[in-house]
Amino acid sequence: MKAACGTVFKYGDNVDTDVIIPARYLNSSDPKELALHCMEDIDREFVEKVKAGDIIVATKNFGCGSSREHAPIAIKAAGVSCVIAETFARIFYRNAINIGLPIVECAQAAKEIVAGDEVEVDFDTGVITDKTKGTQYQGQAFPEFMQKIIDCGGLIPYINQK
């Protein structure tokens, strides 16, 4: 599986799915349209600044709140290649795996990496490299079962293959 590499957008604890994609835009389920409003209520500049491959780093409980799959869909469609956090809220965690948005849990990386750092994530090994600081972190590997879903490109292709 290829690695992710990009510039970091950094957020704190409890980034909820209402700020990732506010419900006023949930009358659409088009990924491109959702991406235009990604992170709007927490970071108005995100959509203007984000480039394909960029990485979101946050601390505890990323993606808490609503089960809306529109949240990881918006993040993925905005071009984000990976989300690193200390912990993820469980529905967001499932949704990200199910739609094929790479996510990595790593407390130390989540704490130390700052906005603007250039970061690389190797999905095979779970190693996170902060190229700006020259530091490395070991992210938590997925259980084999979840890795299979990710390798298939999401839950639906995985079920189709079974």
Partner: protein
């Protein structure tokens, strides 16, 4: 090693004698739920599947409740998509305008959720049915699609936190105050990936509506599910509402709980969660002077008949403060009708409140009560995140129906005691 109630239900649905925390299992589903926001995404995902059709047309519930009656053209398109899907697959439990209610109030009322079930729903508050002794949890649209097609879902068996409830709550202390107290204590990620198992003799003092409210907000503590033991009160509810047979599971005496909290319900006071997290709780006498512009009484958390009765008890013969928009939303058509027959709607209208058709509406900032910049709302809903009910610089204070009704009268956040003069 003993199992918790949640673990026993999951083991039975995975065809296993026992399971332990952390184990990955595939479980058979008794019900798969979706609403007008999450179902269109799931329907789109289902189209990509090799398996065509649904696993069981009677074990799927589609409820149009978030943006209906349609608030705009785009939401009308979404509802049309769900309506056509329901028609094509002859989904038995499809609820459109006129029959619908807020999903988590509607399904138990319709008898579709019973003790011992495993239920997934593409809505985070699906955990509500734990009040009936079921394992139920929120998932996303892709899980919903897979569930509708295969009747199965994968789960990581959760470890557990036990909450031992003792004593009897005082007047004006409701299920909402209990769960806000718990979330204030453990934090919004305090039960992350875990089940919240409620036990203790204090449960006897809680109505089913109180239990629904508590289980409903397990997700606000980060929980995978919240679950109550099945007692006589629960069995009476099940028998009144459902024709389905149910299965009672009890935790083993040696079940493992990672943490235990004992909560004396008689010591609790009305509790308010300040912006912008449900964990920012204060007791009603610590609130200070918070003027409000709007009061919302409703939602999957607090739009049931008990909630409306309490609100009416506080509002009866009084007027809401000038300038406080008071919006009351019975959660289902049946609750609406019952409230009408009991005279509650008259109380609300005479007090200067409005009564809406069932909808999730303002809870998630959809419509029917959106806040402007710098406005404040006291709300019986479940989340007070930034921008949740409207403008990014508006504020939501979460409370019980009694506190919301009293605050609507006072124009600021107050205890019901203050307006009842006791």
């Amino acid at each position: 090693m003993g199992m918790t109630m949640t673990q026993k239900i999951l083991a039975a649905h995975a065809g296993l004698e026992s399971v332990q925390a952390g184990q990955l299992i595939e479980a058979d589903l008794d019900l798969v739920l979706g609403n007008d926001i999450t179902s269109p995404v799931a329907i789109h995902e289902m189209e990509k599947m090799k398996t065509k059709g649904v696993f069981d047309k009677e074990k799927i519930a589609l409820v149009l409740d978030h943006f209906v009656p349609n608030k705009d053209i785009k939401s009308a398109q979404h509802c049309k998509c769900v309506r056509e899907f329901a028609c094509k697959h002859e989904i038995t439990n499809y609820f459109d305008v006129g029959e619908m209610g807020i999903e988590h109030a509607l399904l138990p009322e319709q008898g579709l959720t019973v003790a011992g079930d495993v239920i997934i729903g593409a809505d985070s508050h699906t955990c509500t049915y734990g009040a009936l002794g079921a394992f139920s949890t929120g998932v996303g649209s892709t899980d919903m699609a897979a569930g509708m097609a295969t009747g199965k879902a994968w789960f990581k068996v959760p470890s557990a936190i036990r909450f031992i409830l003792t004593g009897k709550p005082a007047q004006w202390v409701s299920g909402k105050d209990i769960i806000l107290h718990i979330i204030g204590m453990i934090g919004v990620d305090g039960a992350l990936y875990q089940s919240m198992e409620f036990t203790g003799d204090g449960i006897r003092c809680l109505s089913m509506d109180d239990r629904f409210t508590i289980a409903n907000m397990a997700i606000e503590g980060g929980g995978k599910n919240g679950i109550f033991p099945v007692d006589a009160v629960c069995e009476a509810y099940l028998k009144e509402h459902s024709m389905r047979s149910y299965q009672i599971y009890e935790a083993d005496d040696d079940a493992v709980y990672e943490q235990e909290y004992t909560i004396d319900l008689s010591a609790l006071k009305p509790t308010v969660a300040f912006p912008h997290l449900p964990e920012n709780t204060k007791l009603i006498d610590e609130v200070g002077d918070i003027a409000i512009d709007q009061a919302v009484i409703g939602s999957c958390t607090n739009g049931r008949l008990d909630d409306l009765r309490i609100a009416a008890e506080v509002l009866k013969g009084k007027k809401v403060a000038k300038g406080v928009r008071t919006i009351i939303i019975p959660a289902t058509q049946k609750i609406y009708l019952d409230a009408m027959e009991e005279g509650l709607l008259k109380v609300f209208i005479e007090a200067g409140a409005i009564v809406s058709t069932p909808t999730c509406g303002p809870c998630l900032g959809g419509y029917m009560g959106i806040l402007a910049e710098k406005e404040r709302c006291i709300s019986t809903t479940n989340r007070n995140f930034v921008g949740r009910m409207g403008h990014v610089d508006s504020e939501i204070y979460l409370a019980s129906p009694a506190v919301a009704a009293a605050s609507a009268i006072a124009g600021r956040i107050v205890s019901p005691d203050e307006v009842m003069g006791s």
